[in-house]
C-alpha cells in the first residue's frame, strides 16, 4: 500500500499534477514528529519519492532546501539512514551544485559514525562521497587537508568488500590528484592494511565480487603515488618472505606495477634487498607460477632501475644488473648442476629488459659459456653448456624489440658460437643441445648469412651421413632444423641434403628380416617429406621418387619374395601423398602443374603394370593402387573449375572409350594395342582395380563441373549394378560407391531418376528381398548407406526416406546389424564427402539427423517386446552416438547411459570399444559435483573391469579403453560413491597389471594409481 503511494506520488510529480513541495507539505508533521518511528518513516517516504521523481522536476531552490533538510536530519539518530538515502539520490541530480558540497561533507563527517551503522548504509556514505568526488572534485581539492583527514578517519576500518571497491576508487583519486604530503602515512595505513587481499567470496555471493576485483582495485591504490615507495618496499619484502603461494604471486604482480611508479632511484637504493628476495623465489621456487612471476618482477625491477639512463651503446653497466649477472655467471661455472638452470633463466629474463642490459648480459654470458665449452676440464659438461646456450639464444631471439631490421644482438658472437656448435654436433651426447642452439640461431632474423646457413647444412648432413646407426636420435631435431633452413635457403637443401638423402634410399627393398634397413628407409622418407614441400625442392622430390618407383615396379631381376618390394614402393607412394597433402593444406600454387606430370606418370605406372607388364607387378597390389588414388584426388581437387572440366573429359574418355593417351604418360610406353576397358567383364581383377583411380579422379571434382556422360542417372545405375555383380573385392566396390556418393551429393538434381528408382525397385529387389543371398544384400545395403550419406550431407529431400528404410530390415537377422551400423556411417565424417573435395555439406546436418532419429532409436532400444529388433536398435544407437560430437546428445545423457552400458554386452569388440570411447568422451568436462555417471558408477566399474581382463576380452583396444575409463572414474565421480568399490577395484586391477601387452599394463598402472590416490 505504502509502496503504491510512493509510486503514485512519484508519477504525479512526473506528470506535473503535484510537486515535491506539496509532498513535503503533506508530510509536514511526520517529518518533525516527536515520535522516533514516525519521523524515520516520514523522512524515508520523502527519500523514496525523491528517488522516483524525475530530475528535471527538482529546481535549484528545492535542491538547496532539501540539502539543508537532509543535512540537519543527519544530526538526528533516527533519521540518519533515510537522510543518507535522500542525499545519495540528491547528490546525483544536476540541480545539486558545488555550493552544497561543503555542507553535505560537514554533516556527513561530523554526524555519521561509520562504526555504528551497517554495511549497506555505509555503502550509501561511500556512494555520496564518490559522487561528490566525480562531480565536484575541485571543491574537494580546495578543502584538501581537511577533506583528506576527515575522509581517512571515516574510511578507516572498513571491511565490507562492496564498500572497499568504492573506497579504493576514492583513495586512488586522492592519491593521484590531491596534495597528500601531510597524509602519506595515514593514507598508506588505510590502503596497505588490506594487502594482500585474503578475501574469499562466500558461495552464492549476491554481489559477485571476486578476490581478483579487490586485488586489482587495491593495486591501483598502491601504485598510485611514488610517496608510498619507501613505506611499501619493506611491506612487500615481508609478504614475499612469509606468504602463501597466492600471497607471493599477488605481491610479485603488485611490485611489478609499483616499481615504475615508485621510481628508479628508490629501486636502485633497494636493489640489493629486492634482488635477494626475488632470487630466492627463482632459485628455490615454491611452484612454477611463482617462479615465472618472480622472473617478470625481476625484469621490471631492472627496467625501472635502468630506465633513466641514456641508452648509449658504450655505457658501463653498474649496479644490480652487473652484480646479478656476475652472480649468475658464477653459478654457471658448474653448468651441469641444478642451480645453473635458474641462473640461466635470470640471464634470459635480462634479455627482455632494456637494449643496453640485454647487450651487456650477452657480452658477459656468451663468451663465458664459450670459454667453458672450450676448456678441457669441462668435456663432460658440454651438453649442459650447450643446453644453457640454447636457452640464451632463444631468449635473445625473442627479445628483439621494435627495430625489425637492425642486426641481432648475437651477431658479434656468431662466428665463435657456430664454431663450438659445429664441434658440439660431432659428439652424440651434445648433439641435441647443439641442434637446439642452431635452431634458435636459424630462427633469429638478420643473424645468419646464406653461406653460414650452407655451413650449418653441411655440418648437419655430416651427422646424417656418418651416423646411420644413430640417425634416429638426432634425426627429428636435425630434420626440423633443416626444414627451417629449407624455407630460408632452399637451394642449400637441394644441393647438399637431398642428394645425400636420395642416395641413402636403397634401389631395392630391404629384405623381410632387414628391420633396421627398413626403419632407416622410412626415416629417410619421413625426412624427405618434412623437407620437400617448397616448390623448388618438391620438383626434385617427385622426379627422384617416381624414378625409384619405376625401378622397383619393373626390376631387371625379379625377386621371389615380392611383398617387401611392394611395401617399400607403398612407403614411397605414401610419402608422396603426405607431401602433396601438406602442400595442398598450405595452399601451394605449384601443386596444380602436377596434373601434367605426377598424375599421368602414376596412371602410366599402374596401367602398364596391370595391362602390359609380364609377370605380376608389385604395383598391382591393392594397397599401392589405393595410395596412388589418394595422390590423384589431392592434385585434381586443387585445380580450378576449367582445368577440372578438361581433365574430367579426358578421364572419362579413357575409362569409357579406352582413350588412354591423354591420361597416362611415362617411361614404360603403353602399346596402342592395349584394350583399356576396366568396366568390361573380360578384364582381370587386377585390371579392374584401376577403377579406383577413376574414382579418385572424380571425387575431387567441383560441383560446377559437368559430368561428361549423356545421362547421369543411367551412368549411376550402371555403376551401382557393376559394383554388386561385376566386382572382385572391396577396393573396387568402394570405388564404385564413392563415385555414386560423390555424384549424388553434388549433382542430386541430375540424378533424381536414379534416386527414385532405387527407392521403388532397388530396395525391394536387392535389399528387402529375402531370396537374394545375404552377402549380396549386405553389399547392397552398404551402397544404400553411401547414397544416404550423400543425400544427408547435401540435405536433399529424399534423404529421410533413404534412412527410414533401414528400420524396415531391423527384424531380419541376416542383415540387421549392417543396417543398424549404417546410422553411424551415414552421419560420420569420411574422406570422400569433404570440404576439400568440394562436397555439398549443409550446416548442422548431423544435428538435424540426430534430433530426428535419436528418440525413435532410443525407444526401440528400450522396447524388449521384440528382442531381435531391440538389439538392432541398440547397435544403431551405439554406432550413432559414437560417431557424433557429444554436444549433440549430451542433453539426453541420463537416459542414454543405461542403454550404452547394455551396449557393452554386445558380442562385438569394435562396438564395445566405441561405446567405451563414447564414455571417455562424455567424461571430458564431467566433474564430481555434477557427474552424469554417478548413479551408474557401480555397474560401470563392473563392466569395465570385465572388459579389462585378458581372459574375458581378447581385444587389446577394448582392454586399453576400459582401463582408461577406470582411471578416469576417480576424477569424475564423488569419492563417497567410489569408496565402497575401492578395495575391489584395486584388487581386480592387479590382474590387468599382468596383462601380456605392455600398453595395457601401462593403462592398468595409471588407473590403479588413481584409485590408490583418491581419498588417500
Amino acid at each position: 500500500m505504502k509502496k503504491y503511494r510512493k509510486l503514485h506520488q512519484g508519477t504525479e510529480i512526473a506528470n506535473g499534477t503535484t510537486t515535491l513541495l506539496n509532498v513535503v507539505k503533506a508530510l509536514g508533521e511526520y517529518l518533525t514528529s516527536e515520535e522516533d518511528g514516525v519521523r524515520t518513516k516520514g523522512v524515508d517516504f520523502l527519500s523514496s519519492v525523491l528517488k522516483l521523481c524525475p530530475s528535471e522536476r527538482l529546481n535549484r531552490q528545492s535542491a538547496r532546501v532539501l540539502t539543508k533538510f537532509y543535512c540537519s536530519k543527519l544530526e538526528d539518530f533516527d533519521t540518519i539512514i533515510p537522510a543518507l538515502k535522500g542525499l545519495a539520490t540528491l547528490t546525483t541530480l544536476p540541480t545539486s551544485t558545488e555550493e552544497d558540497v561543503p555542507e553535505i561533507l560537514k554533516a556527513v563527517f561530523s554526524h555519521v559514525k561509520m562504526k555504528a551503522i551497517v554495511q549497506n548504509v555505509r555503502f550509501m556514505v561511500y556512494t555520496i562521497i564518490d559522487t561528490l568526488m566525480s562531480r565536484h572534485r575541485e571543491v574537494l581539492k580546495s578543502m584538501n587537508d581537511s577533506f583528506i583527514s576527515q575522509y581517512v578517519a571515516l574510511a578507516e576500518g572498513e571491511k565490507d568488500p562492496r564498500n572497499l571497491l568504492v573506497a579504493f576508487a576514492i583513495a586512488r583519486v586522492i592519491l593521484i590528484e590531491f596534495d597528500i604530503s601531510k597524509f602519506v602515512q595515514s593514507l598508506f595505513d588505510i590502503t596497505f592494511c588490506y594487502f594482500p587481499i585474503m578475501f574469499r567470496p562466500p558461495p552464492n555471493d549476491p554481489y559477485g565480487i571476486t578476490t581478483e576485483d579487490l586485488r586489482l582495485a587495491l593495486r591501483q591504490c598502491l601504485c598510485a603515488t611514488p610517496h608510498f615507495g619507501p613505506l611499501a618496499i619493506p611491506e612487500f619484502l615481508e609478504k614475499l618472505q612469509a606468504g602463501s603461494p597466492a600471497t607471493k604471486q599477488d605481491t610479485l604482480e603488485t611490485m611489478s606495477i609499483c616499481f615504475p611508479v615508485y621510481g628508479s632511484s628508490l629501486a636502485r637504493e633497494n636493489a640489493r634487498k629486492l634482488w635477494n628476495a626475488l632470487k630466492l623465489e627463482i632459485f628455490q621456487p615454491t611452484d612454477p607460477v611463482t617462479e615465472a612471476k618472480a622472473l617478470t618482477t625481476t625484469q621490471d625491477l631492472v627496467k625501472t632501475i635502468y630506465s633513466s639512463g641514456q641508452d648509449s651503446p658504450s655505457e658501463e653497466i653498474e649496479g644490480l644488473a652487473k652484480d646479478a649477472c656476475e652472480e649468475c655467471i658464477n653459478i654457471l661455472r658448474q653448468p651441469e648442476r641444478s642451480q645453473a638452470k635458474p641462473a640461466i633463466k635470470i640471464l634470459c629474463a635480462f634479455m627482455s629488459t632494456t637494449p643496453s642490459i640485454s647487450r651487456y648480459t650477452l657480452s658477459q654470458t656468451v663468451p663465458h659459456l664459450i670459454k667453458l665449452f672450450t676448456s678441457p676440464d669441462n668435456i663432460s659438461a658440454r651438453p649442459s653448456i650447450l643446453l644453457l646456450l640454447s636457452d640464451l639464444i632463444a631468449a635473445a631471439r625473442d627479445s628483439k624489440s621494435k627495430s625489425e631490421d637492425s642486426e641481432s644482438a648475437l651477431t658479434p658472437y656468431k662466428d665463435e658460437v657456430i664454431g663450438i656448435l659445429a664441434s658440439g654436433l660431432k659428439t652424440s651426447s651434445s648433439r641435441q643441445p647443439a641442434l637446439a642452439c642452431l635452431l634458435g640461431m636459424v630462427s633469429t632474423k638478420n643473424l645468419l648469412s646464406n653461406e653460414e646457413l650452407g655451413f650449418i647444412v653441411h655440418n648437419v648432413n655430416e651427422i646424417l651421413e656418418a651416423d646411420t646407426e644413430t640417425i634416429n636420435d638426432a634425426s627429428s631435431p636435425a630434420i626440423k632444423l633443416l626444414s627451417s633452413i629449407s624455407t630460408l635457403a632452399p637451394h642449400q637443401i637441394r644441393e647438399q641434403t637431398l642428394p645425400l638423402l636420395f642416395s641413402s634410399l636403397p634401389d631395392r627393398a630391404p629384405g623381410r628380416d632387414a628391420v633396421t634397413d627398413r626403419v632407416k628407409s622410412w626415416r629417410v622418407l619421413s625426412a624427405l617429406n618434412a623437407l620437400c614441400s617448397e616448390p623448388e625442392l618438391f620438383e626434385t622430390f617427385v622426379i627422384r621418387l617416381l624414378t625409384k618407383l619405376d625401378l622397383l615396379c619393373f626390376p631387371a631381376v625379379l625377386d621371389d619374395d615380392k611383398e617387401p618390394t611392394a611395401a617399400y614402393a607403398h612407403s614411397i607412394l605414401t610419402t608422396i601423398y603426405q607431401t602433396v597433402l601438406v602442400k595442398a593444406d598450405d595452399g601451394h600454387v605449384d601443386l596444380v602443374k602436377y596434373i601434367e606430370s605426377l598424375v599421368p606418370r602414376l596412371f602410366n605406372l599402374f596401367v602398364y603394370s596391370a595391362f602390359v607388364y609380364e609377370g605380376n607387378s608389385i604395383a598391382n597390389d591393392t594397397r599401392l593402387v589405393a595410395v596412388g588414388g589418394q595422390i590423384i584426388t589431392v592434385v585434381v581437387r586443387s585445380l580450378a573449375q576449367q582445368r577440372q572440366e578438361s581433365y574430367a573429359s579426358v578421364l572419362f574418355s579413357a575409362y569409357m572409350d579406352g582413350e588412354l593417351k591423354k591420361i597416362a604418360e611415362g617411361q614404360q610406353s603403353i602399346p596402342a594395342s592395349v584394350d583399356f576397358k576396366p568396366f568390361s567383364e573380360l578384364v582381370t581383377p587386377v585390371q579392374r582395380n584401376l577403377i579406383t583411380l577413376f574414382s579418385a579422379g572424380i571425387i575431387g571434382l567441383r560441383k560446377e563441373v559437368k559430368i561428361p556422360v549423356p545421362n547421369l542417372s543411367e551412368f549411376l545405375a550402371t555403376i551401382l549394378s557393376w559394383s554388386l555383380s561385376g566386382t572382385d573385392n572391396d577396393l573396387q566396390r568402394e570405388a564404385g560407391w564413392q563415385i555414386i556418393s560423390s555424384m549424388c551429393n553434388k549433382h542430386g538434381d541430375d540424378a533424381s531418376a536414379f534416386l527414385q528408382a532405387n527407392l521403388d525397385q532397388f530396395w525391394p529387389d536387392q535389399i528387402a528381398n529375402p531370396d537374394v543371398a545375404p552377402s549380396t544384400r549386405q553389399q547392397a545395403l552398404k551402397a544404400w548407406i553411401w547414397i544416404s550419406k550423400a543425400l544427408l550431407t547435401a540435405n536433399r529431400s529424399l534423404s529421410s526416406q533413404y534412412t527410414n528404410r533401414l528400420f524396415e530390415v531391423f527384424g531380419d537377422e541376416r542383415i540387421n546389424w549392417v543396417a543398424a551400423k549404417g546410422f553411424g556411417n551415414t552421419v560420420s565424417a569420411n574422406h570422400v564427402l569433404t570440404k576439400q573435395n568440394h562436397a555439398v555439406i549443409k550446416l548442422l546436418y548431423a544435428q538435424k539427423f540426430i534430433n530426428q532419429l535419436l528418440p525413435r532409436i532410443m525407444d526401440g532400444a528400450k522396447d524388449s517386446s521384440r528382442p531381435v529388433e531391440q538389439v538392432a536398435y541398440l547397435v544403431a544407437l551405439t554406432s550413432l552416438i559414437s560417431t557424433v560430437p557429444k554436444a549433440l546428445y549430451v542433453h539426453k545423457m541420463t537416459e542414454l547411459i543405461p542403454l550404452l552400458i547394455r551396449g557393452l554386452d554386445l558380442p562385438e569388440n569394435a562396438i564395445r570399444s566405441k561405446v567405451i570411447d563414447t564414455f571417455l568422451a562424455v567424461a571430458g568436462g564431467d566433474s564430481p559435483d555434477k557427474s552424469l555417471v554417478s548413479e551408474h558408477a557401480a555397474s560401470l566399474v563392473d563392466t569395465m573391469l570385465k572388459n579389462s581382463s585378458v581372459k574375458e576380452m581378447p581385444s587389446v583396444k577394448v582392454r586399453t579403453s576400459a582401463l582408461k575409463y577406470l582411471g578416469i572414474l576417480p576424477h569424475i565421480v564423488r569419492s563417497d560413491i567410489l569408496r565402497p568399490l575401492k578395495a575391489r577395484v584395486i584388487k581386480d586391477l592387479g590382474v590387468a597389471l599382468d596383462d601380456p601387452k605392455r600398453s595395457v599394463r601401462q593403462e592398468a598402472v595409471d588407473a590403479r594409481t588413481n584409485w590408490f590416490k583418491f581419498d588417500a
Partner: protein
C-alpha cells in the same frame, strides 16, 4: 620434514627420450603406417615385463629434496635394474653418501612398484654398493616387510611419499 638440505646443488643429467628405435624395430610389419588398419586382436605375442618397463615406472618419481626426477639426478637408471623370473632387483645411487633421504627414496620406489607390478614379483631394493655411508642399514630397512609396513603407518612419511609420486601418471609419455 627436517630442514637440513643434504645436497643443495646436485648435478642434473639430460634425460633420454624413450628409445623409439627399439620400438620401431620390434614392429614386424613390412608396411608403413600399418598401425591403425590391423587391430592386434589375433596377435597373441606376449610382451614380458622387462628392465625398461620397470625403469619407466620409477624414473619419473620426484626427489623428495629437489624439483627433479630420480632420472634427472641419475639416482636410478635402467642398467641398475635386473629381472629374472619373478625376482626383480632395483639398485639406486644416492646423490651424496651422507644423503639422509636415501631410505625415503627407496621406500617411494618400493611403494610405486608395489602398486604397479603384479603380486607374483618379489622386489629387492638396494643402494648401490659403496655409495652410501650407512648402506647396510638402509638396505635392511627397505627390504624388511615389517619395517616397510611400519614406515607406511607414519602419516608424515606417507605424505612426503605421495608428494614424490604426485602426478606420476601425467609424466609418463604414452606413445
Amino acid at each position: 620434514m627436517p630442514g637440513e638440505i643434504y645436497n643443495p646443488n646436485p648435478t642434473i643429467f639430460r634425460t633420454e627420450s624413450p628409445s623409439s628405435s627399439s620400438r620401431l624395430a620390434q614392429k614386424r610389419s613390412l608396411w608403413i603406417n600399418d598401425d591403425e588398419s590391423t587391430d592386434v586382436e589375433e596377435n597373441d605375442e606376449i610382451e614380458a615385463i622387462d628392465q625398461d618397463e620397470i625403469y619407466d615406472l620409477i624414473r619419473h618419481i620426484y626427489d623428495p629434496e629437489h624439483p627433479n626426477t630420480l632420472e634427472e639426478l641419475r639416482v636410478v637408471s635402467a642398467p641398475q635394474i635386473t629381472v629374472s623370473g619373478n625376482l626383480i632387483k632395483v639398485e639406486f645411487t644416492p646423490t651424496v653418501p651422507h644423503c639422509g633421504m636415501s631410505t625415503m627414496i627407496g621406500l617411494t620406489i618400493r611403494v610405486r612398484l608395489m602398486r604397479s607390478l603384479p603380486s607374483r614379483f618379489k622386489v629387492d631394493i638396494v643402494v648401490k654398493p659403496g655409495s652410501h655411508e650407512s648402506e647396510h642399514a638402509v638396505n635392511k630397512q627397505l627390504n624388511d616387510k615389517e619395517r616397510v609396513a611400519a614406515a607406511l603407518e607414519n602419516p608424515l612419511l606417507l605424505k612426503t611419499l605421495e608428494e614424490s609420486l604426485d602426478g606420476i601418471n601425467q609424466r609418463n609419455p604414452k606413445d
